[in-house]
């Protein structure tokens, strides 16, 4: 396992070494491509002055809240639509229309309506994730084998019992898959919101750095966005077995 870890790190270390050698002592290259040394220096100084942890915390909060609201509301709606094919038929064009509208286009509207604070970023992140959660959970629910539904019918199960005993546990794989997909979309939503208008967050950091042509600082923000994605993926990974167990045990 340790050996795999070493081999995994090897390409990254080789790349960093090459990058550092290529930019070290060459201000022009360092200006255009940044340098690992400068990035590391920013990481340390901006962590110590508290600005980097604050930006990270802001984006993390926006993305995590948007992720949470988007997935909860989307999953509830998607699974809820299983109860009525008519309701789904009515809702489908609206879901597709809203789901296919680029978040970048809707984000300025939300900022106008809800201000430049955290609320609008959370809503943009929610909007980025809700439709994927909805479609995934509905697909999961509607793809449950008809044989299982007939089996439940032989027991005289109500629609609610069929939902709890068969549909919900059967759809959980789709729901978790939506969670995984939505990690990236939630971060993207929060980032877009910050990029359009903000006073804090990693999007704001990158925007300011790009205005100053500070490539190293921009990359510093990008790296932290990646770390943020890893943290959310890790949390989803932790949630997955617990959620599966809870759905099977308590429904």
């Amino acid at each position: 396992m340790r050996r795999i870890g070493f081999y995994r790190a090897l390409p990254l270390l080789a790349f960093l070494l090459f990058w550092e050698l290529a930019t070290h002592g060459n201000p022009t290259r360092a200006f255009f491509f940044g340098s690992p040394e400068k990035i590391a220096s920013y990481m340390v100084t901006k962590t110590l002055d508290g600005s980097l942890p604050r930006d990270f915390a802001v984006t993390f909060t926006e993305a995590a809240l948007g992720f949470m609201f988007g997935n909860i509301i989307g999953t509830a709606l998607g699974l809820g639509l299983w109860y009525s094919k008519l309701a789904f038929s009515i809702a489908k064009p609206y879901v597709l229309a809203l789901g296919s509208a680029p978040v970048f286009a809707l984000a300025p509207l939300l900022i106008v309506w809800f201000g430049t604070g955290m609320l609008s970023k959370v809503l943009i992140a929610t909007l980025s994730t809700i439709f994927i959660a909805l479609m995934q959970s509905y697909t999961g629910a509607s793809e449950v084998s008809n044989d299982y539904l007939r089996l439940m019918k032989t027991f005289g199960a109500t629609q609610g019992q069929t939902f709890r005993k068969v549909v919900a546990p059967s759809s959980i794989v789709w729901v978790i898959s939506a969670f995984r997909l939505n990690v990236g979309f939630a971060i993207l939503g929060a980032f877009i919101g910050e990029f359009i208008s903000s006073s804090a967050g990693l999007g704001h950091l990158i925007l300011v750095a790009s205005g100053l042509f500070d490539i190293s600082l921009m990359l510093c923000g990008v790296i932290l966005l990646t770390v943020l994605a890893f943290v959310l993926y890790f949390l989803v990974g932790q949630l997955e077995p617990r959620l599966k167990k809870a759905v099977v045990s308590y429904l």
Binding site: D147, Y148, M152, F155, G156, Q161, K165, S170, V248
Partner: protein, 246 residues
């Protein structure tokens, strides 16, 4: 009691309507065991689906008196539930909660040689285990009318005889009405009061053969040793063979 009168059922297919049951009538008295045999694909499962209320007939009437338990041809175990949890699914639904009598469940698991495997998931279970779980799932709901669709196909011979003996005991104790669809003529004779032979599709009742092998019927092994067993076998076989020659 089961009473199906002049059942007609057809399915829509891309090439038109496919007639499956053509005026089929069948009657099973309360507390009797009836087996249905017939050519493959003749509509035996469809008939059980109609009797269980899963499919609706185009014409004809169906009366089933009592609480119906239906063991479908496929075990249909839920992959996220253990064998024990699958076995209790029906009773959970009927009781409206997750409470069930663990003692009764354990009794059945033990009788069906599944105690050691109760905690495993269907993915790790053999076809025979799954079929036994499906039968327990039906029995736990305490039906007064049981519809069993090929309940012994995946079972080894010794396990099959053990379960047949258990079923007969259960039937005698609870006066359950059993309607069994099987392709195995020996099983049909060993278990039943009556064997119904269906024609090829569209299915109608070809012959109804009452089985009387005396006390031997209380034991599937003794039943197979009965001198009348061969006669019944030949009779039913001739009916089915006749279908092949048609």
């Amino acid at each position: 009691m089961i009473d199906a009168n002049a059942i007609r059922l057809s399915y829509g297919t891309p090439t038109g309507r496919l007639l499956v049951l053509k005026g089929l009538s069948i009657h099973c008295e309360t507390g009797q065991i009836t087996s249905i045999v017939g050519p493959s694909g003749c509509g035996k499962t469809t008939l059980l689906n109609v009797l269980a209320g899963l499919d609706s007939q185009d014409n004809g009437s169906v009366t089933v008196e009592g609480k119906v338990g239906y063991m479908m041809q496929d075990a249909l175990l839920l992959p996220w539930r253990t064998l024990a949890e699958n076995a209790s699914l029906g009773v959970e639904v009927i009781n409206g909660g997750t409470r069930h009598n663990r003692e009764v469940l354990n009794k059945y698991l033990s009788a069906f040689d599944l105690s050691q495997f109760s905690g495993i998931y269907p993915g790790a279970a053999s076809g025979g285990m799954k079929q036994r779980v499906a039968l327990i799932r039906t029995l736990l709901t305490q039906p007064s009318v049981m519809l069993l669709d090929e309940p012994f196909t995946s079972l080894d011979f010794d396990v099959k005889l053990k379960i047949q003996r258990f079923l007969i005991d259960y039937h005698m104790k609870h006066s359950t009405t059993l309607l069994i669809v099987t392709h195995d003529i020996e099983d049909a004779i060993a278990l039943s009061d009556t064997v119904v032979v269906l024609s090829d599709r569209p299915a109608t009742v070809k012959t109804v053969i009452p089985i009387d092998i005396g006390f031997a019927r209380h034991d599937p092994i003794q039943a197979r040793k009965s001198p009348l067993f061969t006669e019944y076998f030949t009779h039913i076989w001739d009916e089915i063979k006749y279908l092949d020659e048609e």
